[in-house]
């Protein structure tokens, strides 16, 4: 079935190629109702209750499970590997990214992030002092996020078999029983909120790669990654509205990919208002210079929230009061149609379809 196909950089980009790979290879073999949720974290229930639900809040327990008197606990469980290049960039580093990414994947499922694992693949010859800087940044970020690094692993490969270091983090959080964060709960009329400016991480990485030599001339503010753990802010948003339908952090593939994942195959459309979408001046300038679109750039400290219209103002207030959410905005709404599509009312008054990209324009962004 896979013929003579080979892995391309685009297969790791979060766009259409990534989705094909996941569907054709991983889901094809591993298929089970938990994976089929396609969430940022899996929601698993501890043994005792063996029922399998395939709904939006699907849970699954192994058939071999023992009966457990404490059954019914919902855990969020997630993993991410980090291969960002370079290892240090304005506003962050691979260590801060590795903690934030996994914390955020737990948080957007409504979970309170608790425990993280960290696994390192190190290239022979890596400076120990560089590793120590990364590890120290991970510790700081873990403290900021209120999570405990509980277990770890280290492997070393020969010089030339990795690019400095790669980090994997997996995480566990507990989901409050009453919460159900799922795109299946989204309804026409719901509002779409974004917790701040788009594209900061993607442009910071480009700047760190020296692919933006002249951008200083276009803006006065430094281009910093937004890389940050969002668990605290998201818990506050949930405090303001228990009925939040859906959340996700728009990382690889950007906001465009996240919203297409939400809308595709569903009976509603998503309408965005370009004028409401916050983008920093420097990011706009860099995007114009390089022909990039902030809608497709990676973010590492932002969350998209879909909530009922009646609660949107309250959630927005809570986000804006948080230091990580002061540029939050209501950027769009859920509409009847065209179903399955994302589109945007542009500044000049037109309507533009926001499609899923074939692949991210920037490899190794996280």
């Amino acid at each position: 079935m896979t013929g003579d196909k080979k892995i391309l950089l685009g297969h790791g980009s979060g766009g259409k190629l990534s989705h094909e790979l996941i569907k054709d290879i991983f889901f094809h073999h591993f298929q089970n109702p938990i994976l089929a949720q396609f969430g940022d974290s899996a929601i698993v229930e501890l043994p005792g209750n063996l029922q399998v639900q395939n709904s939006g809040c699907g849970i699954l327990t192994p058939h071999s499970a023992i009966r457990n008197p404490h059954s019914g606990i919902k855990l969020a469980f997630t993993t991410d590997s980090f291969v960002v290049k370079p290892l240090f960039f304005p506003g962050g580093d691979i260590g801060r990214l590795a903690i934030s990414g996994t914390v955020n994947d737990l948080a957007v499922m409504g979970a309170r992030p608790l425990f993280l694992s960290t696994a390192f693949i190190l290239e022979e010859g890596l400076e120990m002092s560089l590793l120590e800087r990364v590890v120290s940044s991970m510790k700081e970020t873990a403290v900021e996020a209120g999570v405990i690094i509980s277990t770890g692993d280290t492997k070393v490969v020969e010089k030339g078999s990795a690019d400095g270091l790669y980090i994997n983090t997996a995480g566990i959080g507990v989901v409050e029983d009453s919460l159900c964060i799922s795109p299946d709960r989204i309804k026409t009329g719901d509002k779409i909120l974004l917790s701040g400016t788009l594209g900061d991480h993607g442009v910071a990485i480009l700047a760190a790669r020296k692919e933006l030599p002249e951008v200083g001339a276009y803006c006065n503010t430094p281009l910093l990654s937004d890389c940050a753990p969002l668990g605290g802010m998201i818990q506050e948003a949930l405090g303001a509205c228990k009925d939040i339908r859906f959340m996700r952090d728009p990382t690889r593939g950007g906001l465009a990919t996240t919203l297409n994942e939400v809308a595709n195959g569903r009976d509603f459309g998503i309408l965005l208002f370009e004028e409401s979408i916050p983008v920093r001046e420097g990011v706009s300038a860099a995007c114009e210079l390089l022909g990039l679109d902030p809608m497709y750039l990676a973010n590492e400290g932002k969350v998209v929230i879909v909530c009922p219209e009646a609660d949107a103002g309250r959630v927005l207030d809570v986000l804006r009061r948080h230091p990580l959410g002061k540029d939050s905005a209501i950027i769009g709404e859920v509409v009847k149609g065209p179903a399955g599509r994302v589109f945007m009312k542009t500044l000049v008054g037109g309507t533009r379809v926001i499609d899923m990209p074939a692949s991210d324009p920037l490899p190794r962004i996280c």
Copy 2:
């Protein structure tokens, strides 16, 4: 503190260099009572009970934790990255290894393995059909182990920035409340059991690397890796003896490293009987040929169990009845001294100190 030191292959070997790296960098920064247990999995307790214990069965919950009515559940949580070379070897492949390794790390903590994550770092240009073979092997092994692959991630790096593919698996299991598997519970007089022959995995990898051209002449049986998920067998052993003191799978660094980790700094010694330690004819021949010692070779389908003398016979019977444990043996005992050391009564009647190796003789064994 780290000066100009660089990462060496030996830092990933499981021996003394690995321990230094973990102590000086990872523990130094991440320090917390869970990591300090140095177990194959972390044992974490879900929120609700905020006490911190530093004993052998130490548990820790985050200070930010919410009160949870289902508190007191003990989870085992572990992670491992796999960089084995080559990707396919007699008796297994990187996929079978990645599932088995994490299942075994959960099982030796007394946990029932439940949920696994899988994260792939793929090298650009990797044949999709090769990836599919690996994924299919992971699925088969997960079914064999009774675990559910619940969440995953894929990254792609440029050609030359990885060696085919690397896999990380993290895992969650539930630990029965009454169990406490810890080297702190080991007492003088306890017996040491091994669930089968030593060194099979290490020698199979050497054979696959064509570093054993003549070994066929030395034995009639094929050299196969023992790579297998041990959750089922270990649960049966726990069924036969709830009082098992300690278990571990002797992977990188082999049995010698595992037992040194147990004995070092404690007030007992470990005495092994060479004549009782099962080693396959082909593995012996290969070791003689290459000047290797099976005590230091990696195993990927064996468990070392320390249990009270009175239960040793019953545990041995259970292990031997299991297909993965038919060569099990009682290989030694816990003695008063010399405290902190591992030594072996040799076949020729002498006594040999079994030290921790500086590093594994074979890099990228798992």
